[in-house]
């Protein structure tokens, strides 16, 4: 396997890993599977298009604004929609996220049409290829994705382990009733989890749009990243990272050695295999299956 192939795997794994953080955050904290995650990621990318259009001379500002917008977006989704289902059956919440995804897809086309946008180009940036080793090159945006994914993971780890809000989020995820009893405001925790989730999703969307543009089918990547989260056990960040590596390796290998058309279905083949062998993932626990 050539070094270039390895580089491609690492880039794809980084994308899946970054997107997966969103699934893991929400599931770990509130046991809800957010199937609108792909669409939310896509809206994050469109947010960059909007800010890039407004501040084309100031890319940093545009990026920061879009990222902030991504954070706020999740909290708004929780406050307006998801909070009514807190305490209800998880399946109802998941169905609502499916409906939300459809709504967002329609809205994004109504607002931005089906045209393809290149926010990078709006800044006058043309995504040069970067040579990271002899005979190995990736685009600058891809390099950024890998770096940012590492930073995000480190940041999330520190946040969950060492900050008050992070510990509270972990507590709420383990035992929401007890958490409420011990003074933890569940609504606040859940809203913040959603905000963090859409924040990382928007980062992923923005970076992807800088790499290859954004248009209305970008949301599929969100769904393809889901198996990575599942492999890890849905509530483990480390598991999601490992899962992303596994899925990315399988996908690139399949494209390279078997059939390029397999690219969209390989993640789900991995998903099916995991569900068949060890449904609770690498780091989950058996009891989780019954809690559903």
């Amino acid at each position: 396997m050539s070094l270039q192939l390895v580089a491609n795997i690492v880039v794809l794994a980084a994308i899946y890993a970054l997107v997966s953080t969103g699934y893991v955050l929400i599931y770990r904290v509130s046991r809800v599977l957010n199937l609108a995650h792909g669409e939310l990621m896509m809206i994050g990318a469109y947010l960059l298009v909007a800010t890039a259009g407004a501040f084309s001379g100031n890319p940093l500002l545009a990026l920061l604004l879009a990222a902030a917008g991504g954070l706020v977006m999740g909290m708004v989704v929780y406050a307006v929609l998801m909070r009514w289902l807190t305490g209800e059956a998880v399946l109802a919440a998941v169905l609502i996220t499916i409906a939300l995804g459809i709504l967002l897809r329609g809205l994004s086309i109504l607002i931005w049409t089906t045209q393809q946008y290149y926010p990078g180009a709006m800044f006058g940036w043309h995504n040069p290829p970067v040579r990271i080793a002899p005979g190995v090159q990736i685009s600058a945006a891809s390099l950024a994705i890998v770096l940012i994914t590492v930073i995000v993971y480190a940041g999330l780890f520190i946040f969950l382990q060492f900050t008050r809000w992070g510990v509270r989020m972990r507590a709420a995820g383990q035992n929401p009733l007890l958490a409420e009893q011990r003074g933890i405001r569940l609504h606040g925790i859940y809203a913040f989890a959603w905000g963090l989730s859409t924040f990382t999703a928007s980062l992923a969307g923005m970076l992807l749009s800088l790499d290859s543009g954004v248009e209305s089918t970008m949301a599929t990547i969100g769904l393809k990243a889901f198996p990575a989260a599942l492999v890890g056990g849905l509530d483990s960040l480390l598991g999601a990272a490992i899962g992303a590596l596994i899925v990315a390796t399988a996908e690139i290998a399949a494209i390279q050695y078997v059939n390029p058309l397999l690219s969209d279905v390989v993640p789900f083949l991995v998903l099916l295999i995991v569900l068949a062998i060890r449904p609770w993932g690498l780091f989950g626990s058996r009891e989780q299956l019954d809690r559903v």
Binding site: L91, I102, G106, L269, P279, D290, V292
Partner: protein, 348 residues
């Protein structure tokens, strides 16, 4: 004016006079409709009939047996593709392709059903989602290999000199299939299988302890539901004279899930109501779109998505029991309004 129905009459499907009267009325109305509907309305009616088969199939699986499945589009596609492939490769007539679709359905039902032996709820739904993508991939593979960028063309089914093309003829055919699906559903609901499924839906661990063969009934649910769905898919292929894997997207699955939610989970009339609602919805949106500024009216499909998402959310938040729930509340309100009058009329 109520009659005392004997137990035997209650048990039979159309035993009581009241039910027979209602059946006669329903048959009369449905027989007359195709002659008073315009071609457009007739096509709508046909679409609704076709959709009800899939909706009933999903209702059996999810509403009755409590087994979550997101594989409807995959199964519809499999049924349609069975017809497509057999017609294209072997020129097979419908009396071979339809049973073939049924067999494919039973087989896929078995495969889709296997995860349900180990997984529940969310995880089961995810596994059916995975299978959906596999089916869609296989269809896409076929189209790519055969270089069918626009899908498979299929001739209308014919028997002797008669070819099934007119809207009216299709109406009666689809009505027959839908009625049969309805009969199967109603009978299953009242049968031992239906009771076993209800037990499964409540608590499958307890059901197992009570001696119900959980595995057998879960697989049975998937296989029956899948067979109905693939047949619906096959009918769809003939109805549109055309099969393309693009039509069988996740959105299609969500539409069917919406049918049983909007109609009312676990209720047979609910499935029919839901099917009608979801099929007619885009046309209503299109009509409204005409009043919107041109920018929006040019993207009706996006408007459709957005509106559909909103409606689904509203039902999930406000009326999880669906249209049947609303209907029930209306009936209760009317009954409560009438009751005092009856009490006054009752003898001391």
């Amino acid at each position: 004016m109520s009659e005392q129905a004997s137990y035997k009459q209650e048990l039979a499907l159309f035993g009581t006079r009241a039910r027979q009267r209602r059946l006669a009325a329903a048959l009369a109305i449905s027989a007359v409709l195709p002659f008073i509907f315009s071609p457009f309305l007739l096509d709508l009616a046909n679409q609704v009939l076709l959709a009800s088969i899939g909706a009933l199939a999903l209702m059996l699986l999810t509403g009755f047996a409590g087994l979550i499945s997101l594989g409807t589009a995959g199964l519809l596609g499999a049924g349609a593709y069975t017809v497509g492939v057999l017609v294209r490769e072997a020129g097979a007539p419908f009396w071979i392709t339809l049973p073939a679709a049924a067999v494919v359905g039973a087989g896929l039902g078995l495969i889709f059903g296997l995860p349900s032996l180990r997984l529940r709820g969310l995880y089961l739904a995810i596994s059916t989602l995975g299978l959906h993508f596999v089916v869609v991939y296989l269809g896409g593979e076929y189209e790519a290999r055969e270089v069918l960028s626009t899908g498979v063309m299929i001739d209308s089914p014919s028997l002797g000199r008669f070819t099934l093309t007119s809207g009216r003829a299709w109406y009666f055919v689809l009505l027959a299939f839908a009625a049969f699906a309805l009969l199967v559903s109603v009978n299953l609901q009242r049968s031992r299988t239906g009771r076993a499924w209800r037990a499964l839906r409540e608590r499958d661990v307890v059901a197992g302890a009570l001696g119900i063969n959980v595995q057998r009934f879960k697989l049975l649910a998937f296989m029956i539901s899948a067979t109905m769905t693939t047949i619906a898919g096959a009918l769809f292929a003939y109805f549109r004279n055309f099969v393309s894997i693009d039509a069988f997207s996740l959105y299609l699955t969500v539409q069917y899930v919406a049918m049983i939610i909007i109609g009312g989970m676990g209720s047979i009339p609910g499935a029919l109501l839901g099917a009608a609602f979801v099929i007619l919805f885009p046309y209503a949106i299109e009509a409204i779109a005409g009043y919107l500024p041109a920018r929006f009216s040019n993207m009706v499909f996006a408007l459709d998505y957005a509106a559909f998402g909103v409606v689904m959310i509203l039902f999930l938040l406000l009326e999880p029991a669906g249209l049947m729930g609303i209907w029930q509340r209306v009936r209760n309100t009317i009954a409560a309004w009438r009751a005092p009058k009856r009490a006054r009329r009752a003898p001391q």
